[in-house]
Symmetry: C2
Subunit: 323 residues, 2 copies
């Protein structure tokens, strides 16, 4: 079982085929960055067309059981997620509606302050807002997983503490390895693991030590150290693969409609676009490289399988259903 | 098994209790008249709150199996329907989205011309539009039932002929008994039955011979004649019960946002509001009267059960699932 708990590609039959070629059984796909509810539904409609047109390759998953069935039918399961709470607007009732439509992850913030919590690029981190607490309760109730990948430290610790159910950081790496704003402190990772939460390792170059030049060995050594910190059952992948996207998309991710000026986020004026992927993980076809790298740094076959997907599947079994 | 295939009450715990008192196992509830998509979602959010707050009484049904399970748990199953295609706006992709949210019936028109077909109050009845044909195909694909209760004659015949799956007239009566604009011709009823479709008998006084003064015997004799015309397997109830609604609601039904002047629909300036119900069917607690009336005009126990709900359940089994 191979599961990638975060991708946002320019979806196409080519990529659906590469999922199959790389043996990827399930992918958590982002369906909204800054979209409101109606715009998110339009994105769902696009996916519905893909499910209809490429029904031999892909199928939507609402549950862990759907992922197992998809694998049995030789298809990749697609799980929806939101990188921002903008799709629920200011309306807590939309949590259940979006869950019914298949959304299984929602970040409480992208990089900025949201109605719910504080993003990792704000100066002041005030934790969960009043609405944030209500929405976490509602997400807990219906089985929509809290994702704090783009959130600030205190907000993340507050969400871990406040949520009755384990939460995730679907796509980030430990700050001890590469001290980027988006990577996470030891205290966050420990609190996450202690409450049954999961970390998905990112392969987005801005999250990697030495960026696009990061070596497979360095990446896998980092995973081994994180396993020591969090336990080998609490880790998986969330590659953040943004294959075939034009640079206008990374601008949309960073800028949305919240500013009229440009914000480079993790990039810079001289490196404004998507950075090139490491040569050992160009796209979904290179999953075998990662699995080999894990074994080379000493992970057993069983632990490699856990990290490559079985941990996520176990987590999904409990996380996607009503409390 | 008692099923009412159309109600639009001012929903409340009182009415949910009356469903139980009347032995009503499932109700097709209208969730939109003139609402757009976002407004319809707000109505779905209201139902979600009722399902949460009155979970001992009611539960949403997505399938016939859900209705059987609801009955087994002592609860009434609620099935969503739309009396107008306004919730899909001009966007065919919303058919599948609304089906996912539980919508199982959609009228192609209310009283006026829609983007899909012609309503029963228009002067010219042009049948299915280009989009109408596409939407019927899509409804057939996903398992959303075409309902022509408020549609004009040629449009209704066109929908029956064009749809690959049986359609319904969820709430109307035969014109041979009471020649109201909303009641249906013999040719419509025959074509409906021949294609496996269903008629739900209405108890809305404007659809009844002698209106609010209609007798139970006259009503049940009409059902017997309709059974002769359509077959006893193709009929059920869609009472159109609008209990506890203020008259502002019947104005909304008739006028929506399509005119700035008043339109009385089936009513008149002197009788603008909701008419009083017949004294033998005041509300859901009077279902036993109707069942007795059917037996008094000669229906067997078995046929009475069919008409009171088993026919609908059989129809739902096939109709609510993907083609």
């Amino acid at each position: 079982m191979r599961i990638d708990c975060l991708q946002y590609c320019q979806w196409s039959p080519k990529i659906f085929q590469q999922w199959a070629d790389g043996g990827v059984d399930a992918v958590h796909v982002t369906i909204a960055y800054h979209e409101n509810f109606r715009e998110t539904v339009i994105n769902i409609e696009k996916w519905n067309r893909w499910f209809e047109d490429y029904s031999d390759r892909i199928v939507q998953a609402f549950s862990a059981e759907d992922i197992i069935a998809a694998k049995a039918s030789g298809r990749t399961a697609v799980i929806y997620g939101l990188q921002n709470p903008s799709p629920i607007e200011d309306d807590i009732g939309l949590v259940e509606v979006l869950h019914r439509l298949g959304v299984r992850f929602m970040q409480l913030t992208y990089n900025n302050q949201s109605l719910l919590a504080t993003g990792c690029y704000e100066d002041d981190d005030t934790g969960l807002t009043r609405m944030g607490k209500e929405v976490v309760r509602e997400m807990n109730r219906v089985g929509l997983v809290v994702d704090m990948s783009h959130s600030a430290e205190a907000s993340t610790l507050a969400a871990i503490a406040f949520s009755d159910r384990p939460i995730v950081i679907s796509h980030a790496n430990p700050a001890f390895w590469h001290a980027a704003k988006r990577n996470k402190s030891d205290s966050v990772l420990k609190a996450l693991a202690e409450t049954g939460g999961m970390l998905g390792f990112s392969l987005y170059p801005h999250h990697l030590k030495d960026g696009s030049a990061c070596t497979l060995d360095s990446f896998c050594e980092m995973i081994a150290r994180t396993a020591d910190l969090m336990g080998v059952d609490q880790i998986g992948f969330g590659t953040d693969l943004c294959q075939d996207q034009p640079d206008s998309v990374v601008e949309w991710m960073r800028v949305g409609r919240w500013t009229k000026t440009i914000d480079y986020g993790e990039g810079s004026a001289s490196q404004a676009g998507f950075p090139p992927m490491p040569d050992w993980f160009r796209d979904n076809r290179d999953w075998d490289n990662v699995a080999k790298g894990l074994r080379q740094v000493g992970f057993s076959d069983q632990d490699t399988k856990k990290i490559c997907g079985e941990n996520w599947l176990r987590f999904y079994k409990n996380a996607f259903i009503a409390a």
